[in-house]
């Protein structure tokens, strides 16, 4: 924005001390009615014109600079908050990591509340977090990309809008509701499915457990998959939509079938965007808390199989373990939260960096 200046009309405005910017609008109503007799805004030095420059605006206390500083402060707040999160989590995590009698990164058990011998490590929680998110993505990504293509290139526009809205509603369902649904409803089908998988595919190590089934990583991953689906869908739909129409038409004109057109003209064009949307879905899955707190069994055994009852994740462990934690226990949970923060921050930064490097789409943040 260029700074407009009207030096000729610059005059000494009534002395208004710096005041909360929210009041400024009200204040101003009574003073002027939008007549152009204001001093110049902005900090651009005013070039004198017709000698009016003799009365420069008092920029330091002018409404404009107050407003400017306020908005700058609000903008910077985002950076402040992110840095503050890191600092506060670190400060609180240090006592726990100091008190830990085991290695925080590699120990598999979580007993921080023992007053004399706190032993805890994030290893099994981290494995649970990563594996549940990974499985969720494996399940969700193909479906999400299918829907996104359907909405962008297959379904008639009106239908696509309606369906897109339904998918958005899916995103609006609070995670506690998905958790409740997973725990009270989905658990029975998943238990049956687990038994079935073990019976016919038990030779695959993933389905090696002979029970008990139910509140397993599989259940948690299914719920997670449903929850990340709308995010990946809405972002990749934007990506697909922004594919070059010229390329698409050219492909079709050369006799490509619709699928070939999509493979040749749509998907290659949007690949970085797709990677970014999947990473954002991953970020969401890694940090999901309450749905997993309700659907994971919470046993501490970890194994390669995904159908055995049990499993835990960093976030779910925080939600479930918080109520009973003592001082060290709470610090330990904060330390695990710090790890989670670091992981999700990295995932998100990479995803956004991909998006920023190639600004194919400006998807609305979900």
């Amino acid at each position: 924005m260029s700074q407009p200046s009207f030096p000729g009309s610059a005059e000494a405005a009534p002395v208004v001390p710096a005041e909360p910017p929210r009041d400024l609008t009200v204040q101003d109503d009574t003073r002027t009615a939008g007549v152009p007799r204001h001093r110049s805004g902005g900090r651009t030095p005013v070039a004198p014109m017709g000698g009016g420059g003799a009365l420069p605006a008092r920029r330091r206390f002018g409404a404009d600079s107050v407003f400017r500083w306020f908005t700058t402060g609000a903008g910077t707040l985002v950076l402040v908050v992110i840095v503050a999160i890191a600092i506060f989590l670190i400060v609180r995590a240090v006592p726990a990591i100091r008190a830990d009698k085991a290695n925080f990164l590699t120990h598999f058990e979580w007993f921080p509340n023992d007053p004399t011998d706190p032993r805890f490590g994030i290893a099994s929680l981290a494995i649970g977090t990563v594996s549940s998110s990974a499985i969720a993505l494996v399940l969700a990504v193909p479906v999400a990309l299918g829907i996104a293509l359907c909405l962008s290139h297959y379904a008639p526009r009106r239908l696509a809008n309606g369906l897109g809205f339904l998918i958005d509603l899916l995103a609006a369902v609070p995670s506690i509701v998905f958790g409740l649904w997973g725990r009270d409803y989905l658990v029975d089908p998943v238990r049956n499915l687990s038994g079935w998988l073990h019976r016919y595919f038990g030779w695959i190590p993933l389905f090696g457990s002979d029970g008990p089934y139910g509140k397993s990583i599989l259940l948690g991953s299914l719920v997670l998959a449903i929850m990340v689906l709308p995010i990946i869908t809405s972002l990749s739909r934007e990506v697909f939509r922004q594919a070059s129409g010229m390329n698409e038409e050219a492909a079709l004109a050369l006799g490509a079938t619709k699928w070939e057109m999509i493979r040749l003209a749509v998907i290659p064009h949007g690949r970085p965007g797709l990677v970014a949307s999947i990473m954002l879905g991953l970020g969401r899955a890694l940090g999901e808390t309450i749905a997993l707190a309700l659907t994971l069994g919470g046993g501490r055994g970890i194994g390669i199989d995904i159908i055995h009852d049990g499993g835990n994740s960093i976030a779910a462990n925080i939600a479930n373990g918080f109520g009973e934690a003592n001082d060290i226990g709470r610090s330990a949970l904060i330390a695990s939260g710090l790890v989670l923060f670091a992981i999700t921050l990295i995932v998100n930064v990479i995803a956004r960096a991909i998006v920023y490097r190639r600004r194919e789409f400006i998807g609305s943040a979900v």
Partner: protein, 366 residues
């Protein structure tokens, strides 16, 4: 775009035009569908292959349809057309697959949430309700959700909108692009991390200064702060997008009249973008209202009603669901489901209203 495929057929051609490929008549699709369904029924429920079951039958029928379609289409239309057909079927079936959980959640919600949908539920708290009492309600939780989300909105909106104004109207150089980038990154911060941050910063560090006994205390306000951390990037991002859509001509016209920049923003840019901004805010509120994990950590939860968000534990609907879902009483789960129904209704209303409002905006994307 859909008209493009007719290019081969539209040529006025002799009966054996090399360019005109052979197409499967529509009835073959129906026939293949029926045949694969019948085959699946014969194989699985009747034949008892792999345990039967209607889900397996459905999956088998779909798989059978895809395979048969591929074979028939390959034989008649060629390899490329076969691929196209299979891809199209897969894309449409992914849409159905994604709508299944949404439908299931809604049906389960209506079904299980009905049982406690009575006056007692909305007019009573859980005070004096033991595991053996059937009554009780979520009145205190509804109050808590409204107050916490309301407070969070009061804090977020001015700061978020101001931050967006900075990015769009004032921001230049590295600071602005860093802020833009981290606003996006911040949308991916897990809610539990936001909760831990407010726990470490507000509850453990600041709140003791406000307490007569110098003990840290939970409060609804702390929950509002955590929700603020989650809402801030969403509001900033959507406001930023809407402000960018305001035509530059409007601003320039205002500047030309000598209206200072801050006033131009407040009077011209913001009102023009208002419907879109309000939409973004409402979506952020909808998301915040459903958050469980941070509220669980910093608001504490209580069976009593508490109108004062600044003092004492406060319940929220989502925490109420979490508590009642785990309560060892047969009266707990019905309460949880009714509360879930209430919460989802609230969130859906906000979402639908936001989407309707966004249609009214005169600013067009792209």
């Amino acid at each position: 775009m859909t008209g493009m495929t007719t290019i081969a057929t539209s040529s006025s051609a002799p009966p054996t035009n090399a360019l005109k490929s052979r197409r499967l008549p529509a009835w073959t699709l129906v026939a293949i569908g029926v045949a694969s369904a019948v085959l699946a029924v014969l194989l699985f429920p009747v034949g008892g292959l792999m345990g039967g079951g209607w889900v397996l039958t459905a999956v088998g029928a779909v798989l059978g349809f895809l395979i048969a379609l591929a074979i028939v289409s390959w034989a008649v239309e060629g390899r490329r057309a076969a691929r196209n057909r299979v891809a199209t079927s897969l894309i449409y079936s992914s849409l159905v697959l994604a709508l299944l959980p949404l439908v299931s959640v809604v049906i389960t919600l209506l079904n299980k949430g009905r049982t406690r949908l009575d006056g007692t539920f909305f007019n009573n708290s859980m005070r004096n309700i033991t595991a053996f009492d059937s009554g009780g309600g979520a009145y205190h939780a509804i109050i808590g959700t409204l107050e916490q989300a309301g407070l969070a909105t009061l804090i977020t909106v001015p700061l978020g909108v101001a931050g967006a104004i900075y990015i769009v109207e004032y921001g230049k150089g590295r600071l602005a692009s860093a802020i833009r980038f981290f606003v996006d990154v911040m949308t991916g911060i897990p809610s539990i991390v936001a909760g831990l941050f407010i726990l470490a910063f507000w509850v453990l560090m600041v709140s003791p200064h406000f307490s007569p006994t110098h003990q840290p205390f939970d409060s609804g306000f702390a929950a509002a702060l955590a929700l603020f951390v989650l809402m801030l990037p969403t509001v900033t991002r959507s406001t930023e997008e809407m402000l960018r859509l305001v035509p530059a001509a409007l601003r320039e016209g205002s500047f030309a009249l000598g209206i200072p920049k801050w006033k131009t923003i407040m009077r011209i840019a913001l009102p023009t973008a208002l419907p879109g901004i309000v939409t973004g805010i409402m979506l952020a509120i909808a998301r915040a209202a459903g958050e469980t994990a941070p509220v669980l950590l910093v608001a504490g939860g209580t069976p009593n009603r508490n109108f004062n968000p600044f003092e004492g534990n406060q319940e929220s609907l989502s925490v109420y669901i979490y508590d009642q879902a785990g309560a060892a009483t047969k009266y707990g789960p019905p309460r949880a489901w009714t509360a879930a129904l209430t919460l989802v209704t609230l969130v859906f209303l906000l979402t639908v209203a936001a989407k309707l409002l966004s249609r009214r905006t005169k600013l067009n994307r792209k």
